[in-house]
């Protein structure tokens, strides 16, 4: 055999070596046909480990390398680079996963060792047929799309723009600001949310590198890392943005009142409106669903009173196409629908509020101008705050929403500040005050005389059992530290609802090719080491669309996503996928089956030659065409029939007395 193969078995500390007999495996590998040298080492990914490979390539003239270690998603780039440094085409290196696929899934050392040997035999048999392949460098579009205009999207947009890169910030609602704009104070420092948010919103509006596309939604995404093409649908505001000065006369005159979604329906707005006073852009929008003109064909009062003639009832949706090199998704969260737990009384009792409603009640520009009052206008003398509503519960969401404990404590503090005599109760299961300054805040609230009861609330009822309970809402819970069931009569109940994925998350995931976890949130590429990247290169996620988090974590993640995007774009080029398909012009019959199947539009028909051709800048290497081609004219580099069949043959080559099934089956742990 002319190929000289080097096999390297990694111990990964004890991760592999504790279960797999690495010495035996190495001995076995050295006896395989074509293997020139086999070694094992404690950490192959370390500098000395990589050095071994480079040195052997030079000294022993290796032509192929097999590394048996962890998952290729971890270290394939590492070892390919080592080979390239040693002077070998990186695609002549092949990895075998003996950690995730072997040592971590069984405790049976014997079977693990055997399976490792089999996998290595397969790799050795395959790597012989690996071919040197090249990647191409393509230019990158120096622009970034940010989807979602909450604090995450705003932060990312500003960071990217500051680096001198063009940003398109797309927001579904008429104004940027997101959930944070709805909040009153922020824990634990009690800064006013809009005081710290609105300057950033203004900065976004003024930044020369940022184009805000508010009241717009993503229609379609195509292309690939470095070269995405995005279609954005700008919904009609029926107000000419270039003419509207935001004076508000139109809204003043509009006769229609609609529940105000920004105040969670606790107040009303007009059919022509801005969502909140500090809205950016400060342009009015007609809500066609409620506008008298759109519904009944009469009115047009706003048009009459607009000095600037900005009202345009004939506005149509507009499709805007942009090209970007990277995309950051920051679509945020919805809140848990409290009416799913009828026993807590939301929707049944007037004075049961969700936490977001209570944020609005606390807010000076909210429905009650910041006064804590009951539906009938009275001031409550007792308030219960119920934690974990819809969170940490197998019947609803299993996960902890991470922010509820802290905002609940903040509520208690705010109530005590505004109604010092009020009794405030917090019903919790576990108090999660894990952030910087959070535990201190918890202590502070305790010292303010808030009654903190450890017990999940069983129900809220209005059926009194004693005279003191008459006319009250009675919160029933076991004080688990006392072991006593308590019925606490209060005037107001606040449900600390959890954070849930946006209703349209699956739709966004489909468009951007993101994965969704069991909890419904988008999944990052690696939970620890790639927290903002996704499985699709060039697309990053930030904020609560990835999972519940507080503002500090959201901002940190948003800045990380910005850094990733800047990193990608400042490199100036992207390398194409090496595993592209190629067409053998001799065998192609021109049937064009592949063209209709290719999901990336990478294949076209050459009329002159009557054969198909593949654009390797567009080809993502999915292999669909190669498997569909009836004449076997298409092959996918790195996954040729020869390579795959040799790998299988290597796997099945029986060299031990045990029957094959006992070799390949690992014991379930």
């Amino acid at each position: 055999m002319k190929e000289k193969i080097g096999v390297y078995v990694c111990h990964c500390g004890k991760n592999i070596a504790e279960t797999v007999d690495v010495e035996e495996v190495t001995k076995f590998a050295s006896g395989l046909p074509g293997v020139k040298i086999a070694r094992h080492y404690i950490y192959m990914c370390s500098e000395p480990g990589q050095e071994l490979i480079k040195k052997d390539i030079k000294e022993h003239g290796l032509t192929r390398v097999v590394v048996a270690a962890c998952s290729p998603t971890m270290h394939e780039p590492t070892f390919r680079r080592a080979c390239a440094d040693g002077g070998l085409n990186p695609y002549l290196c092949h990895m075998v996963n003996i950690r995730e696929h072997v040592s971590w899934v069984t405790e049976d050392k014997e079977l693990a060792t055997e399976k490792a040997m089999d996998l290595i035999a397969a790799a050795v048999n395959r790597v012989i047929y690996n071919e040197p392949i090249q990647t191409k460098k393509l230019p990158i579009v120096p622009a970034v799309l940010v989807v979602g205009g909450g604090i995450a999207g705003i932060t990312t947009a500003l960071n990217v723009a500051e680096a001198g890169i063009k940003v398109y910030l797309v927001e579904k609602t008429p104004s940027i600001g997101g959930r944070m704009a709805q909040l009153d104070k922020t824990f634990p420092t009690l800064d006013c949310a809009s005081c710290i948010l609105t300057p950033k919103m203004v900065e976004v509006a003024k930044h020369p590198n940022i184009q805000i596309l508010a009241y717009s939604e993503i229609e379609e995404v195509s292309g690939y890392v470095g070269n995405f093409k995005v279609k954005i649908r700008k919904k009609p505001r029926y107000v000419d943005e270039s003419k509207c000065t935001g004076c508000g006369t139109c809204a003043e005159k509009c006769p229609v009142r609609v529940p105000n979604e920004f105040d969670m329906g606790l107040s009303s707005r007009k059919a022509i409106y801005i969502p909140f006073p500090q809205a950016v852009p400060r342009k009015y929008t007609i809500d066609a669903e409620h506008c008298l003109y759109f519904q009944k064909g009469v009115c047009r009062v706003c048009e009459k009173f607009c000095d600037r003639k900005a009202i345009d009832f004939n506005q149509k949706p507009e499709i805007i196409e942009v090209e970007v090199g990277a995309i950051v998704i920051a679509t945020g969260y919805d809140i848990f629908d409290a009416s799913k737990i009828p026993r807590y009384g939301y929707g049944r009792f007037d004075n049961v509020f969700t936490s977001l409603e209570f944020e609005r009640i606390l807010n000076a520009s909210g429905p009650t101008n910041g006064k804590i009052v009951l539906k009938d206008g009275r001031t409550p003398s007792s308030i219960a705050i119920i934690h974990c509503v819809g969170s940490r519960d197998e019947n609803y969401n299993k996960y902890c929403s991470r922010v509820c404990c802290m905002y609940s404590l903040k509520f208690a503090h705010m109530i005590k500040e505004r109604i010092p005599d009020a009794k405030v109760y917090e019903f919790y299961i576990d108090m999660r005050a894990f952030g910087k300054g959070y535990e201190e805040f918890y202590k502070r609230v305790m010292e303010e005389g808030v009654e903190i009861i450890r017990g999940k609330v069983a129900e809220v009822t209005d059926i009194p059992l004693t005279p003191e309970e008459e006319g009250k809402l009675i919160v029933v819970a076991e004080d688990t530290l006392l072991g006593v069931v308590r019925r606490v009569p209060v005037d107001m109940v606040i449900l600390s609802v959890g954070l849930v994925p946006r209703k349209d998350a699956p739709e966004i995931a489909r468009m951007f090719n993101l994965s969704i976890g069991n909890d419904g949130f988008f999944i990052e590429k690696h939970p620890k080491l790639a927290p903002v990247a996704t499985a699709t290169s060039g697309i990053f996620i930030a904020g609560c669309c990835q999972g519940p988090k507080d503002i500090p974590d959201t901002v940190a993640q948003a800045e990380a996503a910005a850094a990733e995007a800047i990193d990608l774009i400042s490199k100036g080029y992207v390398e194409t996928e090496p595993y592209v398909s190629i067409v053998d012009p001799e065998r192609c019959s021109g049937c064009r089956i592949c063209i209709s199947l290719c999901p990336y539009g990478a294949i076209s028909f050459n009329k002159d030659k009557e054969i198909v051709q593949i654009n390797d800048a567009l080809c993502k290497g999915c292999g669909t065409c190669a498997s569909a081609c009836p004449s076997g004219a298409i092959k996918q580099l790195y996954f040729t029939d020869k390579q795959i069949l040799s790998e299988i043959a290597g796997l099945l080559a029986v060299k031990k007395e045990k029957p094959p099934e006992s070799i390949v089956v690992s014991k379930p742990s």
Binding site: N395, R454, E478, G483
Partner: protein
Amino acid sequence: MRTKKQEGLMLEQAFKDDLRTILDGNKIEACLQCGTCTASCPVSYLMDYGPRKLVALCRNGMLEEVLRSNTPWMCVSCYLCTTRCPAGIRITDLLYEIKRLAKKSGINQPTNGYEVLSEKFIEQVEKYGRVNEMRLTMSLILKNLSRMFDTVPLGLKLLRKGRISLTSIIKSESIKNIKDLTQISERIKLRGSG
């Protein structure tokens, strides 16, 4: 002769085995001790521990306390704890299991007459295949569980309304294939000892 400790260990093993076979039995390990069950229970005030503490005792291996507890015997099977439990524990089913184990172990449970009612009810099912309220009530009166005096006015009223008849106590009509039920009982007893 087995020592007390050995017997304890065997019970513990039996409990663990049973937990594994009842649906979601292993979930008690993930109990949050949140108290939803006890606070939801309509009769928890009659219980010594209540469901939450009972689960804690189970998890801590304090089986003797569990089997001596009156908690399972007070349960009215309304399943409110079960549907509300955020950890997905089927608490009502767990309480059934504890009752079965308590019976098996022979450890005395503080009883509220559940034993007698259960015995009389089952006796009726096995004898007739169905339960007649009159017969059941009579048998309970005989066992002193219901005081005769208390039930007389209601009984007379029901008689007048035609809701009960005296003949049904005397007339012992059973289902046709009552031997089916005898067979079932025997089979199960056979399995139990085997």
